[in-house]
């Protein structure tokens, strides 16, 4: 097309004078695309690394830890079991690295990797027959401790003997979760090496994996194994626990991002309409000149589309790159499958369409600019808006009245500006609400069902001794005995967790948000996920098998339940059959306010001579820390969008005013008053937009988080609105920054001598 060269000159010249604004557009679009791509990656099914690892390693669904090697033939005959991994002899050893000690399970293996649950070598190599000192380390453990192939791996056996081993490889596995969520760390050596490190058979255990035809059969197989091995079983883990421990709460994160991304896209579209529209308005004269030189309407349209559309598309391209980076950052370098092409293409296509439509509207208007450049594009004026008349009525200073009048002389841009500021502000408020909710999780874990900071299992001690040691600690406020069994509703094929902690008379402080706490035998409270699963309401009675014993459960309340998708039944120990309740499997410790869980844990371990197994309860908010990074990043993007809107509104106001400045001065307004007039015009839009956005965000955020809580099974009752102080500060910062941004050009304009004639 013959206009191409001329258009390129124009675009280059225009971009040169508004580099900042152009950069703003690119960054804003890039931010939105980044959010959307990260959201889609997180929401896509393949993000949990467990899925890939389990498939690749042909993992075992159930792992059984026994004192001695179990009867493999009997296990393999259990209905649903297809293959057996092991049994492997495993010894607990202590790894000493830089003076720090970390417990490790050292597992004896053969030179030939097993066909089921084979460790997946990622670096280095698998064990060879001559590797008397060789060890292959589970990768997340190695990364956490900074272990490298070829590096030392000095372990101390229970006997106290030290053995200098050498790392020959790093491997991924689906046998257990990632370190440090899952402890102890895992390392593989040849059986001969293991026999040398820990010759005493009594100090080691036997680990056997069962691979099933169908993962859904896990529970019956586990029951079968328990029946078969009975007392020999020390503990058992299933693929569900491994998967859950690897999960980063990707869905919540993804949904949050998607919400931000989609609303951000709306905000970006508004910002683009405003920015391009404002630019076209300020360029009316130049566009008219181009037309007088022979540009047609459609060529002007094409020119504007090319310039502003290209910025948007560049933003999309940058966003694509950033999206990949952000996704891998959010997943913390875990092996992720790249986003498949359908969501990727729909994000690119959708964003491109939104951007192009947003550009097309003002570009179309630009194309219709009349070609007579001399015609001054003065704003419609003369009439005082209703707001301005109100301002006059309440006797505001003249600058305010004039500014108020000007704010609405161009109605559509004024409302677009308000809207364009309100949408980002609303999202910022929602972001702050999510932040407040996370804070609440951390500072008041009891409100999200995590009153206990530590869980203690008697392990090598008797339950009585454990209770005594725990009770003697000064910082333990209360220790609730508890047991976990599986519960099955007759019509359900899937079992759920039944957690008995405390007794009906002295229940564990669950956070009951609906109904009441259980207070008698047979009464129970449930998480939202369980209520939904069973299709029952509070007050219903359900016939269930709890720990193998039939029980009619009276559900009297709903608790906030962050575990197991909310599919947990909580009840008193006295509701369980005696075989499950006595002795209790563990104690849940509620600490005194201000107590440091790590210190208490260390003290309990010391007091019991390492005989107790003490676990810190992981607060779900700790796993959601990445959300905070996200909120900060999104607030930055949204602030950029707001800024883009603001600069446009301010430039438009200035442009409309450039003509009036001399008149205003002639009317007797001081330079200060003139500047105030200019700032008031934009400032009023800012105040309206920011207040509307904050109000909308504050009224939405609690509901949104509760909705998310409901669908994720945690249940409503966790959503928090940011505190009034936070909101006030946010509003003040937004308005203050906005006024500053408008004040600078206003003052410059007032100082500059504007020739009256150039109109």
């Amino acid at each position: 097309m013959s206009t191409t060269r001329a258009s390129i000159r124009w675009i280059r010249a225009d971009l040169r004078v508004r580099r900042g604004q152009a950069l703003l557009t690119v960054l804003a679009v890039a931010g939105i695309v980044t959010a959307l791509i990260t959201a889609a990656t997180l929401l896509e099914d393949g993000t949990n690394p467990w899925r890939g690892l389990f498939a690749e390693s042909r993992g075992a669904h159930v792992w059984i830890h026994t004192k001695d090697a179990p009867d493999v033939t009997a296990l393999s005959r259990l209905h649903g079991v297809t293959q057996v991994a092991g049994p492997y002899r495993t010894a607990p050893v202590m790894l000493t690295m830089d003076g720090k000690k970390s417990p490790v399970a050292l597992r004896g293996m053969q030179v030939r990797p097993p066909s089921v649950a084979a460790p997946l070598i990622r670096e280095g190599r698998w064990l060879r027959s001559g590797d008397v000192d060789g060890v292959v380390v589970e990768r997340s453990f190695a990364e956490a401790l900074g272990l490298r192939v070829g590096g030392p791996f000095t372990v101390t056996a229970l006997s106290g003997a030290s053995h200098p081993l050498v790392v020959v490889g790093l491997a991924d596995t689906a046998d257990q979760g990632f370190y440090p969520e899952w402890t102890p760390g895992l390392a593989w050596t040849l059986t001969t090496t293991l026999a040398r490190v820990e010759p005493a058979l009594g100090r080691s255990e036997s680990v056997t994996g069962l691979r099933l035809a169908d993962g859904e059969d896990t529970l019956p197989v586990a029951h079968g194994a328990v029946t078969l091995l009975a007392e020999k079983i020390q503990r058992m883990s299933t693929w569900r626990e491994v998967r859950a421990s690897m999960e980063l709460d990707n869905r919540l994160l993804g949904l949050l991002l998607a919400l931000f991304g989609v609303t951000g896209l709306v905000a970006a579209a508004l910002a683009i309409v405003n920015v391009v529209g404002g630019r076209v308005l300020t360029q009316t004269r130049d566009i008219a000149t181009l037309k007088s030189l022979g540009y047609t309407r459609s060529q002007i349209f094409g020119l504007l589309m090319a310039e502003h559309g290209a910025l948007g598309l560049l933003g999309i391209a940058v966003g694509l790159v950033c999206g990949q980076i952000a996704s891998s950052f959010a997943l913390d370098g875990m092996p992720i499958l790249p986003l498949s092409s359908v969501p990727l293409l729909s994000i690119i296509g959708g964003t491109a369409a939104v951007v192009l439509v947003a550009v097309a509207l003002p570009a179309w208007r630009g194309g219709r600019t009349p070609p007579i450049p001399a015609a001054p594009a003065a704003p419609p004026k003369g009439r005082l808006s209703r707001v301005a008349r109100l301002a006059l009525l309440v006797r505001l200073p003249p600058a305010l009245v004039l500014g108020t009048r000007d704010a609405f002389t161009r109605r559509v841009p004024a409302f677009l500006s308000i809207f364009g500021l309100a949408v980002p502000m609303m999202m910022i408020t929602i972001g702050l609400g999510v932040w407040a909710t996370l804070d609440d999780f951390l500072h008041h874990p009891e409100q999200v069902g995590q009153a206990a900071a530590l869980t203690v299992r008697p392990d090598k001690l008797t339950p009585e001794d454990a209770a005594r040691i725990v009770g003697a600690d000064p910082e333990v406020q209360a220790a609730y005995p508890g047991s976990e069994v599986s519960a099955l509703e007759p019509e359900q094929t899937r079992s759920v967790l039944a957690r008995a902690v405390g007794t009906s008379a002295q229940p564990y402080p669950f956070s009951v948000v609906e109904g009441r706490m259980f207070a008698g035998r047979g009464e129970a409270v449930a998480g939202q996920g369980l209520l939904d699963l069973l299709g029952v309401k509070i007050g219903d009675r359900v016939r269930m098998t709890v720990g193998g014993t039939p029980l009619i459960v009276h559900i009297v309340g709903r608790v906030v339940e962050p575990d197991q998708d909310g599919e947990v039944l909580s009840l008193g120990l006295d509701s369980l059959a005696a075989k499950d309740a006595v002795p209790p499997q563990f104690y849940s410790l509620v600490l005194r306010p201000g107590a440091d869980p790590a210190a208490v844990r260390a003290r309990l371990l010391a007091a019991s001579d390492e005989g107790l197994e003490v676990h810190r309860v992981v607060n779900p908010a700790e796993r959601l820390e990445v959300v905070r990074v996200l909120i900060v990043a999104l607030i930055a993007v949204l602030a950029l969008l707001g800024l883009a809107n603001l600069l446009t509104a301010s430039a438009l106001g200035l442009r409309d005013h450039a003509l009036d400045l001399a008149v205003l001065k002639a009317m007797g307004l001081t330079p200060g008053q003139v500047a105030a007039t200019l700032v008031t015009g934009t400032g009023l839009l800012v105040v309206l937009g920011v207040s509307a956005g904050t109000a909308a965000g504050a009224s939405l955020v609690g509901g949104l988080i509760d909705l998310q809580g409901h669908t994720s099974g945690v249940g409503a009752g966790i959503g928090r609105t940011p505190s009034a102080l936070t909101l006030l500060v946010a509003v003040l910062v937004a308005v203050g920054a906005a006024l500053l941004v408008t004040l600078i050009p206003a003052r410059r304009a007032v100082r500059a001598q504007i020739p009256v004639a150039v109109r």
Partner: protein, 250 residues
């Protein structure tokens, strides 16, 4: 014997009626105007007499209400907006009272723009620009921004831009209306020079002394031609026009 060449501009009963909030405002009321190739026509009249409207219609910037416009023997008033734009690109150059240089572009880019628009290669456009700016004494300002130029210089750049495509018709709407006497003299000297080289010019002015430079003065009043006459040869001494202006302006 071949027929005489058609006039560059021929308007037949040209009428423009603006609608101002429902009230019809007749700006041009039946103008018949022929301009032959190589003529320099000044259009005079008091403010609001319809001078700008007439020139805008001849250049296709404004649509006529009724009547006919013929350019170079071809009917032009029935053209649509894009066809008018193409026509302007090739045949018409505009100079406005307020210069209307594209503020963001350098002087060089402003002058090269029409040539590029008409499909010239960047080299052709550059050569033409260098020639024009050289002729207008602006060669050293090529990389300046329009805002850095004085009013007279800006108008000379606008003139260079208007002439970039060797238009068959140059339309100038009060080209000196915003200039001081020195710059007026410069611009007028340039206009008469290009006219001497054969350029057809229609120039709007309300300054009789400026109009005296033209071959012919058309006077408008309330949208109608009230006087149309060649400037007497006694008043028009060829080759001394610019000096006249200097004398007139004092």
């Amino acid at each position: 014997m071949s027929p005489p060449p058609p006039p560059i501009v021929n308007t037949v009963n040209l009428v423009k009626i603006y609608q101002n909030g429902g009230v019809p405002v007749p700006a041009v009321r039946g103008v018949d105007l022929q301009v032959e190739a190589g003529q320099f026509v000044a259009v005079m009249g008091p403010s609001g007499s319809g001078k700008s409207t007439l020139v805008h219609m001849i250049g296709g910037l404004d649509a006529r209400t009724s009547g006919e416009i013929w350019l170079d023997g071809k009917r032009a008033d029935t053209l649509n907006e894009s066809a008018w734009a193409l026509l302007r690109r090739q045949k018409i150059g505009f100079v406005f009272q307020f210069f209307n240089l594209v503020a963001n572009m350098t002087v060089a880019d402003n002058v090269e723009l029409p040539a590029l628009l008409a499909g010239a290669s960047p080299r052709e456009a550059r050569e033409r620009r260098e020639y024009l700016l050289g002729e207008l004494g602006l060669a050293d300002r090529a990389d300046a921004a329009p805002a850095q130029l004085a009013g007279g210089e800006q108008q000379r750049v606008a003139l260079a831009r208007a002439l970039a495509n060797r238009p068959s018709l140059l339309l100038a709407d009060e080209p000196t209306g915003n200039l001081d006497s020195r710059n007026t003299r410069d611009v007028l000297r340039l206009l008469s020079e290009v006219h001497r080289d054969g350029q057809t010019i229609i120039m709007v002015t309300h300054d009789a002394r400026v109009a005296s430079l033209a071959d012919r003065v058309v006077s408008l009043l309330d949208g109608e031609i009230v006087d149309d006459g060649a400037v007497g040869p006694a008043r028009r001494r060829p080759r001394a026009t610019a000096g006249d202006v200097v004398e007139l302006r004092g």
